[in-house]
């Protein structure tokens, strides 16, 4: 009696397992790991997931990849590094995803970048912009790729602008005292030095400071006519408000954090129009971008986060192309394919021709960025004589 029931159970179990494994064999699982709810940048994470889902829909509608459908497993890391590390192991080891997109916050990628490298599981960043994310770590193979902005490339851009602007005689650096600001200052100093640009003043401020008039008065008396600012959105806004207090209006170039809605609201409409910065997408969208925008706009919690949808959409297409080229989902083979992608990928941002090489894991570089500023509450393309004079070679890092 018990024997037969056990045999029956075993048979049932075996058949369920068989069904389960055939189901997964027909599917290629991708993962997303990033903040979707906890920090102010959660909106960027949500926009990124929308982009990946849209790309998966389009790829599946066209028959999938290698005859298999794609699916997405989403994990929220609440912007906490320990949670993000745990998600990474969970996605790769338990969910067996082929590759992971994200994270939202750069710091979390830096906390777990050893995991994709050890597990030979490619990670495609499409939100965080810290320079070091895609840098090789130790002697391990580098499985970290990115389709997004890179801090160092933006800094190369604003340094090039300053260098090429004949009226800019005295340059000052203004950075916040966080890791983000200090990392930016390191890049600013190195890239300015390479271009023979010497700042006459460097000043720092706290991320929660509401009055920077002391630092700005020093800049003013040093005759600084152009300031390069590396900080988050709200402190940049406070900086502009302090400039207004002491009646000081130098040319202001900033990090892309000035595209945040919180920057715009804190600075107010008039002051918000002052700084220029680099961004991948402005409101002057290409037809392809407009099409994706119209499709996702109802679901986007922040319109300015649309750029992350576009980056993540493209990252998904690039990964699909790599799977096709590798003829499977083996991590090492995928890396080989990503490092030397043969077929061009027509994405939302541009058509990618060999986006990566073994030493270069950035699909978008400064030449792909656009000069941006706020105009009437919208992020629009900025241009002047200096911008027009800039050639791709000027953006060299």
């Amino acid at each position: 009696m018990t024997l037969t029931t056990n045999a029956l159970k075993a048979a049932l179990l075996a058949s369920t397992l068989a069904i389960a494994s055939t189901a997964t064999a027909q599917e290629i699982k991708l993962g997303f790991n990033g903040d979707l709810s906890a920090s102010p940048s959660a909106q960027s994470g949500q926009a990124g997931v929308l982009g990946i889902q849209a790309a998966i829909e389009d790829l599946n509608a066209a028959g999938g990849v290698l005859g298999k459908k794609l699916s997405l497993v989403v994990r929220d890391d609440l912007s906490q590094p320990p949670k993000s590390i745990q998600n990474m192991s969970d996605l790769i080891d338990s969910e067996k995803v082929v590759a992971v997109f994200g994270p939202t916050n750069s710091g979390n990628a830096l906390a777990w970048k050893h995991i994709p490298n050890q597990r030979k599981n490619p990670s495609l960043g499409c939100i965080g912009s810290a320079t070091d994310i895609t840098k090789p770590a130790g002697g391990a193979d580098n499985y970290m790729y990115r389709v997004s902005m890179v801090d160092r490339a933006q800094i190369a851009g604003i340094v090039a602008y300053t260098k090429n602007r004949p009226q800019s005689k005295n340059v000052g650096f203004l950075v916040e005292t966080t890791g983000y600001g200090q990392g930016g200052l390191k890049d600013l100093e190195a890239l300015a030095k390479a271009k023979g640009l010497t700042p006459v003043a460097t000043e720092k401020f706290g991320v929660n400071d509401t009055d920077m008039t002391s630092q700005l008065n020093k800049m003013k008396s040093a005759g600084v006519d152009t300031v390069l600012v590396w900080a988050q959105g709200t402190p940049i806004a406070q900086l502009l408000r302090s400039m207004e207090k002491i009646d000081y209006s130098p040319v202001t170039l900033t990090s892309w954090a000035a595209d945040n809605a919180s920057f715009f609201d804190t600075a107010g409409k008039t002051l918000a129009e002052r700084p220029i910065f680099m961004r991948t997408i402005t409101e002057d969208r290409t037809p392809v971008q407009q099409k994706l925008y119209d499709r996702l706009a109802p679901k986007l919690t922040s319109k300015s986060a649309f750029s992350f949808s576009a980056h993540c959409y493209d990252a998904t297409l690039i990964l699909a192309a790599a799977i096709k080229q590798a003829g499977g989902t083996d991590g090492a083979k995928l890396k080989e394919a990503l490092d030397n992608l043969q077929a061009p990928v027509a994405g939302i941002m541009k058509t990618y021709n060999k986006p990566f090489t073994p030493d270069q894991h950035e699909a978008l570089t400064a030449a792909d960025y656009r000069w941006t500023h706020w105009k009437d509450g919208k992020l629009v393309t900025y241009t002047d004589a200096t911008v027009e004079s800039l050639k791709p070679a000027d953006y060299a890092e």
């Binding site: 906890a38 920090s39 102010p40 959660a42 909106q43 005292t177 000043e203 720092k204 401020f205 706290g206 929660n208 509401t210 009055d211 920077m212 008039t213 002391s214 630092q215 008065n217 020093k218 008396s221 709200t234 408000r241 207004e244 207090k245 002491i246 009646d247 809605a261 919180s262 609201d265 804190t266 107010g268 919690t301 922040s302």
Partner: protein
């Protein structure tokens, strides 16, 4: 050059007024109950959002995700919202006293430190659920234009903060030294047992102290919001600085706390004129020096008042 120094002084006094107000709130509970609300930072943030909610409710306007329209703060609405935030925060102050402080007060150990911090964590989590993590820009009732005082620029809201802080302090000082309630509070501060024998209801005085202290924190939140944006994370930084100001001035002396807050604000902006990244180092070095040489604070001696 003179304009630069005036700007430094004006900016320092403006931020110092905020520190002084919060430092005073620390002093009120410390002098009466020998305990403090370590969730004061969360009370500031919570107060700011109560103010935001009140402004939207009173004006009937819809707020955006990251800003509320300028008209919402016009006329009587801003003072009304400030009053509502003060009262709501005051009621929560009674709650924190009854739930998290009184069970542990007077007992050995520092359980009330942990329980007030815990109360703050709960408050912040509730706030995040209701309002989310994004900062909200709050308009100032007097607009956003820059006013010029002897060449130095200042925003109307900074003057409002400074004026409110000074007014509250003067009233508080008068109440403490001239009225029966103030004298009762000082008696409880001096010795709860003796005060109780003299027929003072010690428990009521302590509850009142927590309500007042928390109400001030809530008011501070509404006052700071148009300068720093309302955010659930904004309070902690201000509370820490204000606590430092209270230590410098002398936690046991309300007047000293106020001076300490202003000293800290002006010191910060002056250090910015020299090397801004040294600001925190200078501030906390000063605290260590004060604690080493005058543990009662710079103005701590004034606590020996006749009651």
């Amino acid at each position: 050059m003179l304009a630069t120094y005036i700007q430094t002084l004006v900016s320092g006094l403006a931020i110092g007024g905020v520190y002084a107000l919060i430092a005073l709130s620390f002093s009120i509970t410390f002098t009466t109950t020998k305990t403090m609300n370590f969730a004061q930072g969360e009370f500031i943030s919570f107060g700011a959002f109560i103010g935001v909610a009140a402004l939207l409710l009173l004006s009937g306007l819809a707020g955006g995700l990251t800003a509320i329209p300028g008209e919402a703060a016009a006329g009587w609405r801003y003072p009304a919202a400030a009053l509502i935030a003060t009262v709501v925060a005051g009621v929560m102050g009674v709650l924190i006293f009854l739930l998290a402080v009184r069970p542990f007060a007077g007992k050995r150990g520092m359980n009330w430190v942990m329980s007030t911090i815990g109360f703050g964590v709960i408050l912040q989590s509730i706030g995040l659920t209701i309002w989310g993590p994004a900062p909200v820009m709050v308009p100032s009732p007097l607009g956003d234009g820059v006013l010029r005082i002897a060449g130095a620029g200042v925003r109307p809201q900074e003057l409002i903060v400074l004026a409110s802080a000074i007014a509250i302090m003067v009233i508080f000082d008068f109440v403490m030294r001239r009225t029966r309630i103030g004298k009762a509070m000082m008696a409880v501060a001096h010795s709860p047992q003796t005060a109780s024998l003299m027929g003072i209801n010690v428990n009521t005085v302590m509850i009142g102290a927590f309500a007042l202290s928390s109400g001030l924190a809530g008011l501070a939140g509404v006052l700071i919001a148009p300068i720093a944006s309302a955010s659930l994370f904004m309070g902690l930084g201000f509370a820490l600085k204000a606590f430092s100001g209270a230590i410098i001035g002398g936690l046991t002396n309300p007047r000293g706390c106020i001076y300490g807050g202003f000293i800290l604000g002006v010191l910060e902006s002056s250090v910015g004129l020299w090397q801004a990244q040294w600001k925190e180092i200078v501030v906390f070095s000063l605290i260590i020096l004060v604690l080493a040489f005058r543990p009662q604070g710079l103005f701590g001696h004034a606590s020996i008042d006749k009651v």
